[in-house]
């Protein structure tokens, strides 16, 4: 292999589980796809023979775990992210070709071991786990690991792979004599727990204590493939095109956007922008002040915690909050107990390998069904669980166990909550919004699609909850400032200017940031949505810049509140070019995102997608958001006089016809056929995607 210093490790590992052998694919051929989402989609296209499958648990499915050139480098908050693609499960109406990702150390170790991606095809004849140490790939019988939870699985694999040390405290890795290489690091293991084995769509892939990949249902795909775990340990290097540039850009981004952790004036809550925010930590508070902020490889500021109490390590985000308020009620306002129960349960979910995201929006609904007499012993949906105990520690564990071991309601809802509701004849519960699963049968992210429209639009126009917080940074900053009665650090007109400056040339007017009722179907918002999807497809999920740090569209830590995104000194493209040597512009990256998106549309078309299917759940159009999640839903709006202000967008619903028209214009702008939503032959040719035409034509899906 000729060596090029471009951040790629050089090889792709194709695991053929059916025959338990593997193949080494040179990355060269796929370098044009960048990495992550793009690389994974291209590999899926080449290696998945039957792209019409609609459930990821089908043995024909191929999933790809893909890294980017930036993984394993010091690119701020891009060094440790890892992308998974393939046909998922748990979506409604079908399991789309979808994506997910995972943080921690997994992708960096995959690259240090010399691999850019892993293509997993077929189905193993018996449960296996795969050990990769640099170039060594070994299938192990996972019979004795089957049934173990994710923590025990990892600990057992780590101990099996532990070679002791030679008195140096460094592990020697295979190599003859002076080719022996050493590491002080532990292998990075990605595995499933019992839920994944039992192919529940609520299962999560787990790496380390708290890095999980759950949305998309890939843990069930692992289970269906009889694949318990993959472990990577590498001692290699990643060749950087311009290391000097990368190092100095990393120094610079710390100067400009780094959190001043030692400065007592640093405020945990009043930052505006993503890159410079202090650690997020647990949402349910902490049970001790003895903890650290913990970060994925290369992150500029960690968002997770490790405690001294023996549980809750690396838990974060809604994993820590989905049960907290039930506990608060149950323990009559005892906040310490609430934190304890919330963290223990979050920890347990990570241990056992369960997606907590589906719980965030479903437990309330189950509580409702219980009190409505639809859920219970011998009721419409049978359960032995006692929902009167909802909030207790014991109930929490029993509830999670039901899903982890696919029993009781865990079995009933194993294919998804929307699917379960329909099965129970309770479709109206969903259509009316009691079950707040608004796009593709997955839970609303909490940022109501009727208010934060770009989130809803992008979710329904792609394949799942888009989970991309780019514009969402505005919402939180403004909403919290409003709650606390603080002055807005950045006024509405200014934020519109700051953001739209970053969106050029997709939009040329601040109007794109106008979230007012009369503007949300406009071409400006449509172009903002396109930018959002393209950014998501390339910079976020192909280059693998972390969602919780990028895009940094505005940032109060920087003079003029200018965000780091697209910045000539510290923007995404600076790191990309320093590592790969490509010399692309920020906008070039977005164009690549477009190309990837069109290829994905080709796959969706083969899976059976048609534009008529692309609509959100009925309640999004029929009902206003009634019971507010927020006291207010503050977004920048511009009134007819051209005056900008932050406005509460509660109590809004979308209009079917106008969204339909929006879709038509969106498809046209993206080069998709407005009649069907399928890629057009012309667009495919223009984007260098001609290779997909034949297959689309065969299936009558070429527009």
């Amino acid at each position: 292999m000729e060596e090029s210093k471009n951040g790629f490790a050089g090889n792709i590992l194709h695991l053929n589980l059916t025959t338990l052998d593997y193949e080494v694919i040179p990355t060269k051929k796929y370098e044009e796809w960048g990495g992550g989402n793009g690389l994974g989609t291209a590999l899926f296209w080449d290696y998945c023979q039957d792209k019409t499958i609609t459930d990821g648990r089908n043995a024909e499915n191929v999933i790809v775990i893909a890294t980017s050139p930036l993984n394993g480098t010091s690119t701020p908050s891009a060094g440790g992210r890892c992308e998974l693609v393939g046909v998922g499960c748990g979506h409604y109406p079908i399991g789309w070709f979808t994506r997910s990702n995972i943080g921690g150390r997994f992708s960096s170790h995959m690259k240090f071991a010399g691999w850019d991606a892993v293509v997993i095809s077929g189905k193993a004849p018996y449960p296996v786990w795969v050990e990769v140490e640099n170039g060594k790939v070994v299938y192990h019988d996972a019979g004795s690991l089957w049934g173990e939870n994710a923590r025990k699985t990892q600990l057992r694999i780590l101990s099996a792979l532990d070679k002791g040390n030679n008195g140096w405290g460094w592990q020697p890795l295979p190599g003859k004599k002076d080719e022996t290489s050493y590491t002080t690091q532990k292998p990075a293991v990605l595995c499933i727990g019992p839920a994944g084995e039992k192919q529940s769509t609520h299962a999560a892939l787990v790496h380390d204590a708290g890095s999980t990949s759950a949305q998309g249902g890939f843990a069930a795909v692992f289970g269906a493939k009889n694949l318990k775990a993959i472990s990577f340990l590498g001692t290699g290097s990643i060749d950087i095109h311009d290391p000097k540039k990368l190092v100095s850009a990393r120094f610079r981004v710390k100067e400009r956007y780094g959190v001043k952790v030692d400065d007592p004036t640093t405020d945990m809550q009043s930052w505006w922008g993503w890159l410079s925010r202090p650690g997020t930590l647990s949402f349910a508070g902490t049970v001790s002040d003895h903890y650290r902020i913990q970060a994925c490889a290369g992150c500029i500021m960690g968002c997770r915690t490790r405690f001294d109490v023996g549980y809750g390590n690396e838990t974060k985000c809604q994993a820590t909050s989905w049960y907290a308020h039930f506990a608060l009620h149950y323990y009559k306002g005892d906040k310490k107990k609430m934190s304890e129960v919330a963290l223990k349960l979050a920890d347990y979910c990570n241990d056992i390998g369960i997606n907590t995201y589906t719980f965030a929006k479903s437990v309330h609904w189950l509580e409702r069904l219980w009190h409505k007499g639809l859920l219970g012993k011998g009721k419409t949906i049978h359960t032995d669980l006692n929902f009167d105990e909802l909030g207790s520690e014991k109930f929490g564990f029993e509830f999670v166990d039901a899903f982890a071991y696919r029993k009781d309601i865990g079995e009933f809802f194993a294919d998804g909550f929307v699917q379960g509701a329909i099965k129970a004849g309770l479709e109206s519960e969903w259509k009316e919004g009691h079950l707040d699963y608004c796009y593709w049968g997955v839970p609303s992210h909490g940022y109501d699609a009727r208010a934060e429209v770009e989130w809803g639009y992008a979710s329904i126009l792609t394949d799942r909850d888009v989970n991309s917080h780019d514009f969402n940074a505005m919402f939180w900053a403004v909403t919290l400032a409003t709650m606390r009665g603080l002055p807005y650090q950045i006024e509405a007109h200014e934020i519109a200017k700051l953001i739209t400056d970053k969106l050029k040339p997709y939009v040329d007017t601040t109007n794109a940031i106008n979230y007012a009722d009369d503007n949300i179907y406009s071409d400006d918002v449509m172009n903002l949505t396109r930018w959002y999807i393209h950014y998501n497809r390339f910079w976020k999920n192909t280059a693998l810049f972390c969602d919780l740090r990028w895009a940094d569209l505005f940032d109060s830590s920087n003079p003029g509140n200018i965000g780091a995104t697209a910045d000539p000194e510290v923007g995404e493209q600076v790191y990309w070019n320093a590592v790969t040597g490509e010399g692309i512009s920020f906008v070039d990256g977005l164009s690549r995102g477009h190309r990837i998106f069109v290829l994905q549309n080709a796959i969706w078309a083969l899976q059976g997608r048609h534009r008529d299917m692309v609509y959100m759940a009925d309640y999004i159009y029929d009902k206003k958001a009634e019971h507010s999640e927020f006291p207010f839903f503050m977004w920048p709006t511009k009134d007819e006089n051209g005056t900008w202000r932050y406005t509460d967008l509660m109590h809004r619903k979308l209009d079917r016809a106008q969204f339909d028209d929006f879709k038509t214009r969106f498809y046209k702008a993206e080069g998709l056929d407005p009649e069907t939503g399928w890629p057009t032959s012309e667009t495919l040719d223009k984007l260098g995607l001609g290779f997909v035409k034949e297959e689309l034509k065969q299936h009558g899906k070429l527009a």
Partner: protein, 127 residues
């Protein structure tokens, strides 16, 4: 909306009445609000009783209530049925000089005082 009443119009609270006001409501009368876990999380939460509202309203370092004060006022008046408390809360809800969290604190304190009184009247036991 509760109308302001004169002092002498206030309802007398006996044990039974106190227990009634502190009761757990029927499911259909529960009120959906949310709690914000700073810095960045929010979860829905059903309010089942006045005492649960009491526990939720006062913001602390771990969580802020996420409510719409007018709706809380209406719920207390109509679902809980405590018109006196509602009357006490009304000027707070209407006070434009308070920011949101200050308003929550003021509401929380008033509800807390009321619950203390009701608990005393109910014989120190929850209804």
């Amino acid at each position: 909306m509760a109308n302001l009443r004169r002092e002498d119009e206030m309802e007398t609270i006996d044990k039974k009445r106190a227990r009634h006001l502190l009761r757990t409501l029927d499911f259909d009368d529960w009120m959906m609000i949310s709690v914000v876990f700073p810095p960045r999380s929010i979860s829905q939460k059903r309010m089942r009783s006045l005492e649960e509202m009491e526990l939720t309203l006062i913001p602390n370092e771990k969580m802020y209530p996420s409510i719409q004060p007018e709706k809380v006022l209406a719920w207390i008046e109509e679902k809980v049925g405590d018109k006196d408390l509602a009357a006490e809360l009304e000027p707070i809800v209407a006070d434009g000089s308070l920011n949101y969290l200050q308003k929550c604190v003021a509401l929380g304190k008033a509800v807390n005082r009321r619950c203390d009184m009701l608990r005393a009247a109910a014989g120190g036991e929850d209804a």
